[in-house]
Every structure is written in structure tokens, then in C-alpha cells.
Symmetry: C2
């Protein structure tokens, strides 16, 4: 186990990208000091914070030498390289590619439409986004269609990728919970393929990280 | 050099995601048999093609054993693992994370808004997209702002990441050319930081792959 006590992770409780990193770190058994950044209070838009994250994104990993790294998946890959076990991005060409294919499908075709739906339709987002209701509705419709397709795909599978639990499952859990709670798109009950996967993932201690 | 003659890459000339894979393969010196799929003729939506690419995406890499892989970056990572040199995704924890951070910024914050702008505003896309003009305009505005920010960031840099030429540059070139030609957002002339990087990248033989 590495000693990461001289690093700092700037994170926002409840926001999806920070949650992805928190679950990843919990699954790897990695502990990094954390500092809370309130997006609702606009703490990510201060000039002080922008020195660490020029595009005002959360999370940020600040390293011992002051280097700051943004982008949730970049932060995960940093730790994956330092501490490869348990491997969550695959181990050989085929598993690496399959996990990346699924991770991207879940981020680009499930999480992003869910995020657009939330940002463009939810009243709490009116101050943070130039809301276009029609785009929010189209995105919500696409979120539902992707969930329907995923539900079929999960028949007979314990985890997203054939090599077992991976960053694709973490991405899927974060995206699915965001779709349910923020975009208000329900998990299909019947057939229960995706629901069983969601229960399996939610039961892991890391889901509460 | 590996022998990839038993594989097949389904690709679409001129489309940005296939171009990313083509440039990557040219930079790696990798040759894979290709088959053209016409998006404009709807060849990506046939039931035959959907057996290879269930979400009707191009490109697809079909392996010798019939396994099909979608998602441009997943295909690149597959070859990166089989043939690591020259390394285009980084070599140590810090360069891997820095390249991934930039690759994501360029894909999510430059390419995607440019793609939304094109899909929602261009008459040629009317048959392929439920066009929302207001969303197209907002996306075009965001594309322009990201290019302005990138232009500042490129001051004094030869390549996007500090470790040298990488997949982040390829992603940036594909995104920038798409922004210029499809979304009609110009490259800033002054200061010419981004323009010089764009000229440098465009002069590489791979840019025509």
C-alpha cells in the first residue's frame, strides 16, 4: 500500500464524478486526505480554486509537489498505475479494450444524457445552467432508451465486462443512481437483469464511499 | 510489428471517431484491413451491421475470433497494449494521468460541443438528429469559449501534454478540425498558439490517414 497522506483530493459529497473516484479508491483500499468543495455555494468558481482546476471542475487531486490533476477517470488511472491490484481497468489487450468500451458507453450514453436531463430540467439547476427544456426532455428520453437496452444486455451477467468487476461497473452504478435520483428515470423491474446488477453493486461497501 | 491482417476495421471516411483511430494507427505504424461503412446511406443501421455494433456506431474492430469492439478509444487502447511503442497514452503514472486528463478535456469539452453544434444546426443532419437549434447555438458558443481557453493554454507548448506527442494531440486535432469544418468555429489567429500547434499536427503524415 502506498502512502498518499501528502496528497489532497478536493471533492464534493453527492456529486457523481467525485463519487466515481471515491468508490474507486474504496475498492482499491486507497486512502487520500479529502477537502470538501461546495458546488452549490460556488466554491469551485473562486480564483483560488481555479488555480488548481482552471475549468472549475471537481474533483481535483493535488499531489505532494503541487501538481493538480482533474478529470475523475484520469485520477483513477493515476492510482491504477501506482497500485495495480486489484486491477479495475483490465489486465490484457482484450479485457482493457472491453472495459474501456463499456466504460465509455456508460459514461457517454447513460451518464451524459442523464446529466443533461438534470441540468436542463431541474429547478435547482436554473442558476447554474442555461436551461433548454426541450434538450432536457430529449436527453431524458435517451437516458430511458439506453437503460432499456442495458437491461437486455445484462441478462446472465454478474458484472458489465466479461472479466469481472471493473471501473465499468463503478461508472454504471454512478450513472444509474444519477439517472434514478437526479434525472428521475426509473430502473426497470421486469426483466430484473439490470436491477439485480444494481443491487449487487449497491451492496458493496464501496457504494457508500 | 504484429500481423493484423485477419482483423477488420469498419470505418467511415471523413467521420471524426473513425479518423481518430486512423491517425492513431498511422502513428503506430499499424496496418489493419478496412471496410467502408456509409453513415449517409444508413449502412450503420442495418441488422447485419448491428450484430457487430449493437448501438450502430462506427468504427468497429472485428477480431480474428469474431469478437467485435466498438468505441474509438477502446480500439486504440487495444493496439496500445499489443504494441506499446511508440507510447501514445503515457508511460508512468503522471504522464498517463496527464494525457488522460487532456484527452478527456478535448473530447468532452471541445469535440462534444462541436458535434452537438453540427448535429443540431446543420441542414445535412436534419434527417439523422432531432434538431434543437437553441441547443446547437449554446453548444457552438461553448465550442468557441473552449477554443479560446485552449489557445491561451498552448502558449509555449509544442504538444498538449508535457511528455510530448500523444493521443491527446490526436484527439485535439480531430476535435479542432471538426469544430472548424463541421461546426464552423474558426481557429483564433492572434495569439497564434493553437494555430501553430494545429499546423504542426496537420503537417504530420498521419493527419491524412
Amino acid at each position: 500500500m502506498g502512502d498518499y497522506s501528502a496528497m489532497k483530493l478536493y471533492t464534493t459529497q453527492g456529486a457523481p464524478n467525485p463519487r466515481l473516484v471515491n468508490i474507486y479508491l474504496a475498492e482499491k483500499g486507497i486512502s487520500v486526505p479529502k477537502e470538501e468543495v461546495s458546488i452549490m455555494k460556488g466554491e469551485h468558481k473562486t480564483s483560488e480554486y481555479r488555480k488548481k482546476s482552471p475549468l472549475a471542475q471537481v474533483p481535483v487531486l493535488e499531489m505532494e509537489d503541487g501538481t493538480c490533476m482533474t478529470e475523475s477517470v484520469a485520477i483513477c488511472r493515476y492510482f491504477e498505475t501506482l497500485q495495480p491490484d486489484p486491477p479495475l481497468f483490465g489486465t490484457d489487450a482484450k479485457s482493457i479494450a472491453e472495459i474501456e468500451m463499456w466504460r465509455r458507453r456508460l459514461e457517454l450514453l447513460l451518464f451524459m444524457p442523464a446529466a443533461f436531463s438534470f441540468r436542463h430540467m431541474h429547478p435547482a439547476m436554473a442558476g447554474l445552467e442555461s436551461q433548454i427544456k426541450e434538450w432536457g426532455e430529449l436527453s431524458k428520453d435517451r437516458t430511458g432508451k439506453m437503460i432499456g437496452w442495458l437491461n437486455q444486455q445484462m441478462e446472465g451477467r454478474d458484472f458489465i465486462a466479461s472479466s469481472g468487476f471493473s471501473i465499468a461497473d463503478i461508472t454504471g452504478l454512478v450513472a444509474m443512481d444519477f439517472a434514478i435520483h437526479a434525472a428521475r428515470v426509473p430502473l426497470p423491474e421486469n426483466p430484473p437483469h439490470l436491477k439485480r446488477w444494481h443491487e449487487r453493486l449497491s451492496a458493496r461497501p464501496s457504494a457508500k464511499a
